[in-house]
């Protein structure tokens, strides 16, 4: 196998390297890629969409259709993980572990109880016991709102600075995952219910595609935000800028929810009760 791998790698690598002879040098401002399509983006973006961040404008408007499917890819991955892993039946395994809140004593029940003990007295903890670390838990609890605020900022400010729906969405998703890491998966799940996560994931993509479909309904082409100017009551260029904002919100929502969905299913092998 190793010899075969080496042969394939040498062959493919050789082919790829030999082709680089005809490529432009690194950073060459006169390369075809820098001269053909992209100058239009750089020079006309402001005029056509009034978005200073060219990457955002190209991403969500000129090539907005790609981006819609990119969001769909994320959504697909979330649904795929759910479909492959999620299991309704409880995890097999004999014991459950609880911590007595008042004393900190750990109790292991050899049989899963018929009724859960009162949560304010006994707190369920993961099988692979993690220490009750006050500092980590509280620092994270304090940090998470700020992380989320920052995530919202990144989504909203994508027009003017590096950022946008994907980046902001990932930050928001990470905040929920941080909660699951520092506390436990059950806490994170009660804060953000499974159904709500699933719905948000679909809704996010739906906002994107819906904005596009709305443009279509208004008589423009699909995703032609300029067609939305009558409803938004702004001129077509500003409508493009606003349209970009709407779809970025949708992207953010979808990405956040899907990250959480994937994490939960992977971490708990689909049982959603405990995990990393």
């Amino acid at each position: 196998m190793k010899a075969l791998a080496l042969a394939i790698v040498a062959l493919v690598g050789g082919l790829l390297i030999s082709a680089t002879v005809d490529f432009p040098d690194w950073g060459d401002p006169a390369s075809p890629a820098s001269l053909h399509v992209s100058p239009h983006y750089v020079e006309k973006t402001m005029e056509e969409t009034s978005v200073p961040n060219i990457v955002t404008a190209v991403l969500a408007d000129y090539r907005g259709f790609d981006t819609m499917f990119e969001t769909t890819v994320v959504f697909t991955a979330g649904v795929a993980c759910f479909l492959l892993l999620r299991r309704r039946e409880p995890r097999p395994g004999p014991s459950r572990v609880y911590r007595h809140r008042a004393t900190g004593v750990i109790v292991e029940m050899s049989q899963p109880p018929d009724t859960e003990p009162a949560p304010e007295v006994f707190k369920r903890i993961d099988d692979d016991w993690t220490p009750h670390d006050l500092i980590v838990m509280n620092v994270c609890r304090l940090l998470i709102p700020f992380i989320q605020l920052f995530g919202l900022y990144v989504i909203a400010h994508g027009h003017h600075s590096p950022g946008g729906g994907f980046q902001g969405g990932v930050i928001l998703g990470a905040s929920v995952i941080l909660l699951a890491l520092s506390w436990d998966l059950r806490t994170a799940t009660t804060r953000m219910k499974e159904t709500a996560t699933g719905l948000m994931s679909a809704t996010g993509v739906f906002i994107y595609a819906g904005v596009g479909a709305l443009a279509l309904a208004m008589g423009g082409n699909f995703l032609d935000y300029a067609a939305l100017s009558p409803i938004l009551m702004v001129d077509p260029v500003a409508a493009r800028s606003l349209g970009i904002f709407f779809v970025e919100v949708g992207v953010g929502l979808a990405v956040m929810a899907t990250m959480v969905l994937i994490y939960r299913n992977l971490a708990s092998e689909g049982h959603l009760d405990q995990g990393l």
């Binding site: 082919l15 790829l16 030999s18 082709a19 680089t20 002879v21 005809d22 490529f23 432009p24 390369s31 075809p32 890629a33 820098s34 001269l35 053909h36 399509v37 992209s38 239009h40 983006y41 408007d61 000129y62 090539r63 907005g64 259709f65 790609d66 499917f69 990119e70 769909t72 890819v73 959504f75 697909t76 991955a77 649904v79 795929a80 759910f82 479909l83 492959l84 999620r86 309704r88 159904t195 699933g198 719905l199 994931s201 679909a202 809704t203 993509v205 739906f206 595609a209 819906g210 596009g212 479909a213 279509l216 423009g220 082409n221 699909f222 995703l223 032609d224 935000y225 300029a226 067609a227």
Partner: protein, 502 residues
């Protein structure tokens, strides 16, 4: 409305997939109707699109209102319109046929299952109508991801098969992406029509050759072209029946479509015939694919796996036809995309019906089926005859054109391999029919099994009507397609064959 058909073909199913997902969380009973609505919109729009394209010529659609090459355009000509119509109708029929299996096998996951199902179709349709090389990559990944999940859903060996598919599929898609990157670096464009224009002065450059080679190898991986086929038999053999009968007929065919699209619309046939000059080599690979696929199919003892190997051989037909370098063979290859999709659908759906009743498709499970499931077996026989190439079933006519192309090119190896694989198909299918016809559950009184075997024999009846009707429709479609070959070739295929082909 008609000017929005190209968008509707993709948007309809996409929006419905999202609604299916929402319904999956809130009202699972609505999933199936929504999925049907989504694919119905796609089928209606693609049919309308086909009519429109035939009436007025190629249609292009600017997404977001941006002109190419700055924005993404959909470019729909005869070829894409007919393949889109094919994909959407086959997917719709399969949805109708497989809902029972899905309901009984995955009752709790109906929502995600249908979401991914509709998304897979969305991706395929998008790949077919798009005129942008990078957009194609994104849609390819959607189809692939849904495919991995749908295949891995089954228990047993399916997840491992799916993971292998994922590895090879990812390498394939990445190669395609890299090829697009190479094209971008030498031209600066991503639009197919624009690329074709910009590439002409670059013929002969090493970078272009490398771009072509990488793109092609990537696509071959995704379509399971010999010798890059290793993932396919396991993936389709172990996949759940509804997924197998969706992906096996459509996925490889759409990838062949993409290859032909890239060959004629991006690189142009002049480049391929004169600059690449690999035709002989590729056609011999195709010959190897046909022969190897046929021989490996002979070694199988399971209906679905056998069919999967036949798919490998069929890919050889199409790639070989596309590369023979003349009009006849290209016509045959394109015609075979259509015909093969329907006949593969027919046989995989028949296998699905058998699985629904016997819970297995190993050869022992097929005993006595002519008695127990006469209609299913009739449809399977129709599919088999189409694959063997018996007129008036459609498989005969694409073989006709392929053989003529092979003769015109003087490529006797290709002609011989085609006939050989037809003959092996006779053996393959009649071996199954013999089991189903001559072995009427005979070993029930042979000692093992006893009453259980007897009970099974009695319980076995024809597949439910919801599966049977689409299956019979597909079987009839095989004849209808065969008889419609004349207009199909005359009106749809010939106009898009590039003049550069001899």
């Amino acid at each position: 409305m008609s000017e929005q058909y190209p968008a509707l073909v993709v948007i309809g199913p996409l929006l419905c997939a999202l609604l299916v997902s929402v319904a999956g969380w809130l009202r699972p009973r609505l999933c199936l109707p929504l999925a049907i609505v989504g694919l119905g919109i796609a089928a209606a729009a693609s049919t309308g699109l086909l009519a429109q394209v035939l009436a007025t010529g190629p249609v292009s659609y600017r997404l977001g209102g941006w002109a190419p090459p700055w924005g993404i355009v959909y470019y729909v000509d005869n070829l894409s319109a007919v393949v889109a119509a094919l994909v959407s109708w086959v997917a719709l029929f399969n949805l109708a046929a497989s809902y029972r299996t899905a309901m009984t096998d995955y009752p709790e996951k109906i929502g995600p299952f249908y979401t991914l199902y509709v998304l897979a179709v969305t991706g395929m349709l998008g790949m077919v109508v798009t005129g942008d090389a990078f957009n194609l990559y994104v849609l390819l990944e959607i189809t692939s991801l849904t495919g991995y999940a749908l295949i891995g859903l089954a228990g047993g060996r399916a997840p491992l098969a799916s993971l292998n598919y994922l590895f090879l599929g990812t390498i394939g898609a990445s190669f395609y992406l890299l090829g697009v990157g190479y094209l971008y670096i030498v031209t600066g464009s991503l639009n197919m029509a624009d690329l074709a224009k910009l590439l002409t002065p670059l013929y002969g450059s090493l970078a272009l050759l490398a771009a072509f080679a990488i793109t092609l190898v990537g696509l071959w991986m995704k379509m399971a072209f010999f010798p890059l086929h290793a993932w396919l038999p396991n993936a389709y053999g172990f996949a759940p029946a509804p997924a197998a009968s969706l992906l096996a007929p459509l996925m490889t065919k759409v990838m062949v479509y993409v290859m032909i699209r890239v060959m004629i619309s991006v690189f142009t046939v002049e480049f391929i015939l004169q600059e690449v000059a690999l035709s002989q080599f590729v056609v011999w690979l195709a010959v190897a694919a046909m022969v190897a696929g046929a021989l490996m199919a002979l070694g199988q003892r399971d209906l679905k796996r056998m069919l999967a190997y036949i798919v490998v051989a069929e890919v050889g037909y199409m790639v070989g036809g596309a590369w023979l370098g003349n009009k006849m063979a290209m016509t045959g290859a394109i015609l075979h995309i259509i015909n093969d999709a329907v006949m593969t659908f027919c046989v995989f759906l028949a296998a699905g019906c058998i699985y629904q009743k016997t819970r297995g498709t190993a050869f022992e499970d097929l005993q006595g089926l002519f008695k127990k499931m006469p209609w299913t077996m009739t449809a399977l026989a129709a599919g088999a005859l189409a694959m063997i190439g018996v007129p008036p079933f459609c498989g005969f006519f694409s073989k006709w054109y392929l053989i003529r192309g092979g003769l015109e090119a003087g490529h006797w190896g290709f002609v011989g391999a085609l006939l050989f694989s037809s003959l092996v198909n006779v053996v393959l299918f009649f071996r199954i029919f013999e089991i189903a016809f001559f072995e009427p559950m005979s070993h029930g009184h042979g000692g093992h099994g006893g009453h259980g075997e007897q009970a099974k024999a009695i319980a076995l009846t024809e597949a439910p009507l919801s599966m049977l009707l689409p299956l019979l429709a597909a079987a009839l479609g095989l004849v209808a397609l065969g008889l419609a070959t004349g207009p199909l070739v005359e009106k749809i295929i010939l106009p898009i064959i590039p003049a550069g082909l001899g």
